[in-house]
Amino acid sequence: MAMDHDTGALIHRLAESAEPVQPLPRPWVRTSAWVALAIAYLGLVIFVVSPRSDLMAKLSEWRYVIEQLAALATGVAAALAAFASVIPGYSRKFILAPALPLAVWLATLGQGCVQDWISSGPHGLTLRPDWLCFPSIALVGALPAVAMLAMLRRGAPLTPRLTIALGALAAAGLGNFGLRFFHPQDAGLMVLVWQFGSVFALSALAGWAGRYMLPWRAILDSERHFSR
């Protein structure tokens, strides 16, 4: 009974300290806002770095266009899944949203490797170091990633590792989408290993640190800060 009394006191304190809160917009609304911000930032980066000289020609190549659309769709779907995962009560099926575009992206990159093999033989699958990919994708995706983290921290950290991995996939996917507007690297294997590999590595790394980036404690502290 003593603890029931404590719970009653807790309810009283929580109710008294509760200030009005604005309900979070629905996940697709938050996704739209984040994608708009990320695209604007990518546009600025591409403008500053200056687009690749063969961009107009690349835009008429179906393989390049499909790869870019798949990377963009993966980023958008991963963002939607990440925002849905911080809302209690949402169907867990949302987490699978990026699976299809991710599969299409991977399949087109794989198909590109096969095509390079057919057209150029073993030389078409030469893997050279491209150390610029990882930091470039991280840099291009940095601002969207920071914005994503700030937005995710307003939700409930129900699945912190998965949520952060999805958020990182969204930022890195869009980062790779932006990178290919100014980085003239289209060889199938190179894109698969260095670009897709970087996106995968960044997502896995972020997911591993998810519990530190999205802990319940931070949400409670933040609530305390704003409610006082």
Binding site: D4, I11, L14, A15, Q22, L24, G89, A156, L158
Partner: protein, 186 residues
């Protein structure tokens, strides 16, 4: 005695009012849902003592409070509440498992110093410690439970109890002194 809050729509309306700053609606909502949360905790953790059940209920209420902006008034209320409850239950189970593992991994240590040896053995009786904690004054017991057993931060415990961080530190200090006295005199 069917009230408006028996239905999901009634609870959703109370939560929407609470989000808008209606303190009475929020207090009524929390009172309405507490028995439901307690019932879920009891059903899924049958082995827990009533005190541990109440701890989890309080933690769920605190978490709900912290993320109340994530409730969408256009969606049903109970799935939202149950998702938070299940999540806090799972987190509580992970913490319990970690704590059990830590306690189980402590090897018996003997010291050449005889008094040190006797003290170490006396403190290794978890049931005696639990009984001693129950006998502490309310503030000290709360401080020990939140800071030492549930491993809450001083900030969180301060919000939960409504006392200052300084007062919590004093309570913990006194609680430890009292526990030492109770356990050595037992």
């Amino acid at each position: 005695m069917a009230s408006a809050t028996d239905s999901d729509a009634g609870l959703a309306a109370l939560m929407a009012a609470a989000q808008a700053g209606d303190i009475a609606a929020y207090q009524r909502l929390l009172k309405e849902i507490t028995p439901r949360v307690r019932s879920v905790v009891r059903q899924s953790r049958r082995f827990l003592q009533p005190q541990d059940v109440e701890d989890l209920v309080q933690e769920t209420l605190l978490s709900l409070h912290a993320v109340r902006a994530t409730y969408d008034p256009k969606r049903p209320f109970m799935p939202w509440l149950m998702a938070i409850t299940r999540n806090r239950l799972a987190d509580g189970a992970r913490r319990y498992a970690r704590r059990t593992l830590r306690e189980a991994s402590v090897e018996p240590v003997t010291f050449s110093d005889v008094p040190a040896n006797r003290d170490a053995e006396e403190y290794r009786d978890p049931e005696a410690l639990r009984q001693a904690i129950v006998r502490l004054p309310l503030r000290q017991r709360q401080a020990i439970e939140m800071l030492k057993l549930r491993e809450m931060s001083l900030k969180d415990a301060s919000v939960a109890t409504g006392t200052s961080i300084g007062a919590l530190k004093v309570s913990v200090h006194r609680a430890v002194a009292n526990l030492r006295r109770l356990l050595t005199n037992a």
